[in-house]
Amino acid sequence: MTTQKRDFLHSLWDFFCSLKLTMFLLISLAVISIIGTIIPQGAPPPEYLATISQAKQQLYQTLGFFDMYHSWWFVLLLYMLTVNLTACSIKRLPHIWKIISQPTLTMNSALEQSLSNKASIETAEQPEALKDKLAAFLRKEFANPVVSEVDGEWHFFAQKTPWCRLSVYVVHLSVIIIFIGAMIGSLFGYKGFVNVGEGESISRIQSRTGKEIDLGFALRCEKFSVALYKTGAPKEFKSILTVLENGKPVPDYTNVRVIVNDPLTYKGITFYQSSYGNAGDYFFTVSDPEGKNTIPVTLNGNESATLPDGSSIHIVDSIDDVSQFVPNLTGPAAQLEMHTPQGATQKLIVYANHPELNIEYAKKHKFSNILLYKGSQKRMFTGLQVAKDPGVWIVWLGCALMVIGIYGAFLMSHRRIWIRQQNGLVTMGGNANKNQGAFEMYFKDLETKLRNNLLREEQ
């Protein structure tokens, strides 16, 4: 490796180890994230697009503003943050590890100088007895000491929760674990949506990316209902669902109540109550222009039906009493959209009580089918959010580690106490890596106890 190359790698390493980079990344992420809270994400609704100019729309599209949290520049910042916190951790960890695993067992004058909490006590006690007493004191009041002898002086060292120094690295690790969990979820999981009419069953769902996904089992909606409070506000949206394997209900998954905040999970796939609507059936009869060969046609609210002449129809709207719109007419009516085999599309209204109007309309437009509306049967469908996320437990593991790490990092401190015994002079020093104020009080308290301990025995 040439010197130049090594210099470059060195400065690259320094760059990624720098806390200034951390500050830059955190603040950049905070500022940039605002964009996606102002500009709608995903497929922008037409109402929004109408408010911005064509040029602006083009610009936003190019910059990835409509899906900014997955854009290359946002993801790059997240990657840089990951590299940054990994590099910082790697750089600082050996030093921290040394503090934990190889503590300074003796307090020399240099260390003594650096400590802000110190106390000296003179005693006339015999060295051997004093040594045992000091060790016992630390054991009782603080923690088990390590006792060592250097040049005829006795040194005592005791510490509490040294490993809490690792907490901050646990937090860093937890961020990486959450990222890994999120990645696994996006690679091996999916989010989707499905509508199931009452009495119907489905075995395939539409994913959010537009793919058809086979569930490997079927799901039937037995019933959907909405309960309201007296005020008219919604109280409960409830679906009764049954899981079917090979067409047969699965025992523990039959007639399961699914409401908002209480989903159904089967084979790692979870169904969430999300929306609802009407999937009612609409009944018609179709006859030839002479009024003969009458056959019934049932049209589902969500689907289209094909008539004998090959044209397809689907329901646009229906009404139980047409008189509120046209005063001299009565009874139900349905508005249909019709696609003829010739490729024409038109909207028409079919009445229940006025067959003559239906015939008139058909003759005028040269239809070979005469429709008559026979009414509808109201039926609900339930809209279910479907999700499979094998990474979610890794995310929760990361979250748990983050909570533990933050607890250790903020609420615990590594406390160390040194005692040196030189003939009759006992010197105690101590420090904590956090919360100095609290430690100062603790140390003063400990000093008083030690003083009392030594003086009491002397008397």
Binding site: I27, K191, P263, V386, V403
Partner: protein, 286 residues
Amino acid sequence: MTSSLLFNVTTFAYLVSMLLFFAFMASRSKALGTAGISVAYFGLLAQTGAIALRWKESYDMGVGHAPLSNLYESVVFFSWTIVLIFALLDIKYKYRVIGAFVMPFALLGMAWAQLGMHTGIEPLVPALQSNWLLYHVITCFLGYAAFAVACGISIMYLIKAAHDEGGQKAGESSLMSMFPPIRILDDLNYRAIMVGFPLLTLGIITGAAWANYAWGTYWSWDPKETWSLIVWFVYAAFLHARFTRGWVGKRAAWLSVIGFAATIFCYLGVNLFLSGLHSYGSSPKM
């Protein structure tokens, strides 16, 4: 006794407490400081009673739920948490003058809630019918309150630091001598954020857990979620600033003020200006 009456008593107590703290700052009379904190404690007590009473009243109405379900109830709770955190800070450190910079936030919340909002108890919409509501809202708002206190302390820091730089001026010096030294203010700011940051983290995590439980996604870049992450980023930057050369002192204090501004936007701005999954009360959502 109704909760609504008690809430009005609370609002009045916070107003009196704030004015007493202002008078304390101007006069340096210890008695006024004691009076200020006593009235604040009284208000906190009245508000605690009022919240408990409102909880009970909702059960009497047959729509029983914790009073944390809409904007009014959350603003009231926010105000309560601010005074609670301030009270804990006072018990531990006894810097009364901080009250002059923290009580205005609590008063603002209560006054806005009592005067400008619909105060009726409403039944819980299906989306909020979960125990997660309690964990999520309590952790978030305790975190927000700690940030509010930190913001008040940071403003004191910036005033004091500007004054210290400008040298001593007669007249002002007496007022400034009421302020704790900037070293202490910096430390208190850090401590308040050390309380707020873990709570915000817990709030985000409980929110993610709830979202995953109710909607099947723990994170969907909804404006509320994104803003909570923005707040998290700002305070994460604050915590790292202490170890970064050039970022201690004034810049850290500014980060704390900006962090609280982002917090307020996350809490109110998102609901008022942006649309998303958290806009409860506007349209019937699941």
